[in-house]
């Protein structure tokens, strides 16, 4: 499964540009699904049809997009200005490599992020308070013309960072939310004949504001929707002291975050399945944030929705860290739920 995760996190697919991930997912799922389609706004929906007389419909969601940046201006010397796509703290960008798919070669062009500093005072101020007004990206171009061969205003890019497999942890960009995509793909690979209809939704544009979920929910009208997403942690030095979320303690069954309160049906189903099968789990009450469960709750006449989280360190940084055991246990748990 690690190879699958590596393949998915390797793809650069910022919000609105999910095609790359979708194609990688479809390739992996060949022979493991009964069908797939894209909906109006680009969500990839795959399914397996249940054999029960009156099958229930389960929807599992992992968003295909990742946070990134977009080029807003290219100056005469070929330097780029950017804005965030989703929640990108400008602090994360300093010292980080960015990547953009070149118009000319279709290879990934790398960009280095730095900040304006006309005086030492400026440098100090801008370093202490980095913001998009003072940041710029350097792709090594010596002129506007050279830059324009590769990129244009309105060009989207993402972090570029290595995939690391170390001490039972996986570290990479875009674990948010490729880890969920990988979990769903792995689940479909492992599923044999299923009693219930199982839909996998690889939704678009979660990071800019939960766009895809409500549309997928409207189309599918499932009996239950489970969003799978990363969540924050509390187990690092001076981590959040009002929450209890640890890597390695099992997938986290979300009770609530800022955008939604998980439906009791979903929480109970996940909890019971975990207990009955001896799968470790933890409960999650998150003080902030939201997932696609919010989108599913608000569509049609309201779909019972909840979230299964993978506790992740350094979310929205170029190096998001998950525990491999949590991932494997999430697959196990979801498999029991849909069976």
């Amino acid at each position: 499964m690690k190879e699958l995760i590596r393949k998915l996190v390797d793809v650069s697919s910022p919000s609105g540009h999910e095609k790359g991930v979708h194609q990688a997912i479809l390739k992996e799922l060949e022979g493991h699904i009964d069908g797939y389609r894209y909906d109006n706004i680009g969500n990839l929906i795959v399914w397996k049809t249940g054999v029960a007389e009156k099958p229930k419909k389960y929807l599992l969601d992992g968003h295909a997009d990742e946070i990134g940046v977009v080029i807003t201006h290219i100056d005469e010397k070929g330097f780029l200005r950017i804005d965030p796509v989703g929640g990108v703290n400008p602090l994360m960008l300093l010292g980080t490599t960015l990547q953009f798919e070149s118009k000319e070669t279709h290879e990934m062009i790398k960009g280095i992020c730095s900040y304006e500093s006309e005086t030492f005072e400026d440098a100090k101020k801008n370093l202490q308070n980095p913001n998009y007004d003072v940041l710029f990206v350097d792709i090594g171009a010596s002129s506007k013309e050279e830059a324009l061969r590769h990129v244009h205003v309105g060009h989207f890019g993402t972090y570029e960072s290595p995939f690391i497999d170390q001490n039972g942890k996986l570290i990479s960009k875009s674990m948010d939310d490729r880890i969920a995509c990988a979990i769903i793909v792995q689940l479909f690979k492992e599923l044999g004949k299923v009693p219930n209809d199982v839909y996998g939704v690889f939704s678009v544009q979660e990071e800019v504001g939960i766009v895809g979920a409500s549309v997928a929910g409207y189309d599918i009208m499932p009996d239950m929707a489970i969003a799978i997403d990363v969540t924050a942690n509390s187990d690092t030095p001076k981590g959040f002291k009002r929450m209890d979320l640890c890597l390695g303690n099992g997938p986290a069954i979300k009770i609530k975050d800022k955008a939604s309160i998980s439906d009791g049906l979903v929480v109970d189903t996940l909890t019971n399945c975990a207990k009955e099968n001896g799968i470790p789990y933890q409960y999650e009450v998150l003080l902030f944030g939201g997932t696609n469960a919010h989108g599913y709750q608000l569509t049609r006449s309201g779909i019972p929705s909840g979230t299964l989280s993978i506790v992740t360190r350094y979310v929205h940084s170029p190096h998001e860290m998950v525990d491999m055991n949590d991932v494997l246990n999430a697959v196990k748990l979801l498999k029991k739920v849909v069976e």
Binding site: G16, I41, D83, F156, V208, G209, V215, D219
Partner: protein, 345 residues
């Protein structure tokens, strides 16, 4: 062009009746619409059959503008107000408004410069904003206005050289362009077109989603008047748009990434017909495209803007050539198949 009259009509969010009445009149006068529909929220939808009737485009502009609403009448007869939509209180001091259906004249008071020492350095917030309608006390004020009355900016439309000046170009510019497109049609559009004039965009994209309950469009094209922000004291890199550089195209906005296929179709079309265009350099601010993408079965959309300086204030400035180039571009998108064909790839 109907921009003059449209911009001078009063229609803050939730109070679009006068704007709608006028638009309905013009739409009928063109005689080019198959039927008109109005929903419970107040959206006006005008259906035009196309050559290809299997596909439908929704062309959308919002009728509402930002304004104020009376929240309390003070003992001294002055009115407390709150914003309807995004209004910067700093631009209000000393400006004229009209209050309520009776269109009572009001002025937003401030302390004369003679009486100030350092007060002028203080940025006013909503606690400092009142409307003075000349009433001597609460009783007299209550005879003319009541809580919940709208206050609209009072600005007459003017033009000189390459500029239009007036209020509410966000989004009467879009409304005006839609009427111009309709009026100019000498043959059927490439596909069915719904000319949707929607309500309550400025207070949180409240109106547009309901349009999808009545029609099933394949894609949306949103027309907006958008921020210029090309003031000389600001860094050029951070300008949103620049007057006279042509219609501005969004690629990312608050809560929505513009559908890439539609975005590319707009650019291709602009290049085909040799209309200048620019990218909107800032990614903040939402439009109804974001609402339509999330509503019901999800309708992908893109946005074409006429740049305007100082929007969401009592007066904004627009370029005539930008307006006309935007009109040409929108016409081409409606009359050729580029736009909806892009979705088939």
């Amino acid at each position: 062009m109907y921009l003059k009259i449209l911009s001078e009509l009063y229609g803050a969010s939730g109070n679009e009746e006068a704007v709608k009445k006028y638009i309905r009149e013009i739409v009928k006068k063109t005689g080019k619409i198959d039927y008109i529909k109005e929903d419970h929220l107040g959206n006006l939808m005008c259906f035009k059959k196309g050559k290809n009737q299997k596909k439908t485009l929704v062309l959308m502009a919002h009728m509402d503008e930002v304004g104020l609403m009376v929240s309390k009448i003070e003992e001294d007869g002055k009115l407390n107000v709150l914003p309807v939509g995004g209004v910067d209180p700093r631009v209000l001091l000393g400006k004229r408004v009209v209050v309520g259906e009776k269109k009572i004249n009001g002025i937003i008071p401030f302390k004369a410069i003679h009486l100030q020492k350092k007060d002028y350095k203080k940025v006013p917030d909503w606690n400092d904003i009142r409307v003075d309608i000349g009433a001597k006390d609460k009783k007299e004020a209550e005879a003319r206005v009541c809580i919940g009355d709208y206050c609209h900016f009072y600005t007459s439309f003017e033009e000189y050289e390459n500029r239009y000046i007036g209020k509410a170009f966000d989004d009467r510019a879009g409304c005006s362009i839609m009427l111009d497109v309709l009026e100019s049609m000498t043959e059927l559009p490439a596909y069915n077109v719904i000319f949707a004039f929607v309500v309550q965009e400025e207070n949180g994209l409240c109106g547009s989603g309901a349009v999808l309950k009545h029609f099933h469009p394949d894609a949306a094209l949103i027309l907006e008047g958008t921020t210029a922000g090309d003031n000389p004291e600001l860094k050029k890199e951070r300008w949103s748009t620049h007057l006279d550089n042509g219609p501005a195209i969004n690629y990312l906005q608050s809560m929505y990434v513009i559908d890439r296929r539609l975005f590319n179709a707009i650019i291709r079309t602009a290049e085909d017909i040799k209309v200048p265009y620019q990218m909107k350099g800032r990614t903040v601010g939402g439009t109804d495209a974001g609402r339509l993408a999330r509503s019901f079965y999800g309708v992908p959309g893109a946005v074409v803007n006429v740049p305007a300086r100082y929007i969401h204030s009592p007066v904004s400035v627009m370029s005539k050539s930008d307006y006309h180039h935007t009109l040409e571009l929108v016409k081409a998108l409606v009359m050729t198949e580029n736009y909806l064909e892009a979705l088939e790839v």
